[in-house]
Every structure is written in C-alpha cells, then in structure tokens.
Symmetry: C2
Subunit: 78 residues, 2 copies
C-alpha cells in the first residue's frame, strides 16, 4: 500500500489517467497496481499493488510522473 500526498482537487478522470500511466509500464518492474483510492479534499491517494519490492513500486510511480515516498508492505489482510 502506498500513500500519495498533494492530490488536492484531483478528479476521477485524472485519477484514472494516473492509474493508466502506471499500468502501461508496471510490467517492466514486475509490479501490478490493483486499486487506487482518492480523497481530493485532503489530497491523499492510496494505491494497492503487488510487486517484488517497495523500490520497484516506487520506480513505476516515479516514471509515471507521481513519485511516492510512503510504501508499506502488507503482511496480513482481512
């Protein structure tokens, strides 16, 4: 799970475009972005992905134009 900041006022269409930019290149890093959730009021966005490492996930987001510093490795989910 990674957390973006600064997405204040971002629309559903812009979120979709950003997600598509990830999907286009993610395979090169062995990453898959499954879901993304946006709160345009606080500017927070949350992305759920699978991949070989936090660094691989960060590289995809950076190359797609929306770098992130907060990435959490999920050990459990319910």
């Amino acid at each position: 799970m990674d957390v973006h900041e600064g997405f204040v006022g971002v629309t559903a269409e812009q979120l979709s475009e950003a997600h598509d930019a990830d999907l286009k290149i993610e395979a090169e890093e062995g990453v898959h972005f499954e879901k993304a959730w946006l709160d345009p009021e606080s500017g927070k966005a949350f992305c759920l992905s699978t991949g070989p490492s936090k660094e691989a996930i960060m590289r995809v987001h950076e190359r797609a134009g929306h770098p992130v510093t907060e990435v959490y490795e999920i050990a459990s989910e319910v």
Copy 2:
C-alpha cells in the same frame, strides 16, 4: 479509508480479531468495514469502509478498542 498507527508486531490473527470486533458493532452506526491491510513492521493499518460519516466510522473503531484519528473520504477509485 482510515489509517491506524502503532500496530507494530501485530499478527494476522490479531488483525482478524480486531476486524471482527468492528464487524460485531458496526451496524449500530450504519458502517461496514470491508477490508483491512496491515504492515506490522511500520505498525500501519489501513481500513476501507462505508458509512454515513467519518465520525460514525471513528465511533465504531473507538468502541472496538482501536481508535483512529486519520479518516479520508474516498471520492474516486479505480
């Protein structure tokens, strides 16, 4: 989406118990907790829920024994 801190070292079983505690009382607030993800290394947990307000979600979490201060209203998802 709400974000907990301080769940360092929490196990999958403990996460499941915490989630069950929410599920037991959530209907009283019109809330439903759909998913929860845990990173026991950083102690962060993320919960995705639906409900009438942030306050209703916070009340369920508080009564279940794991209060939260960070709650984000999701306007868009992909």
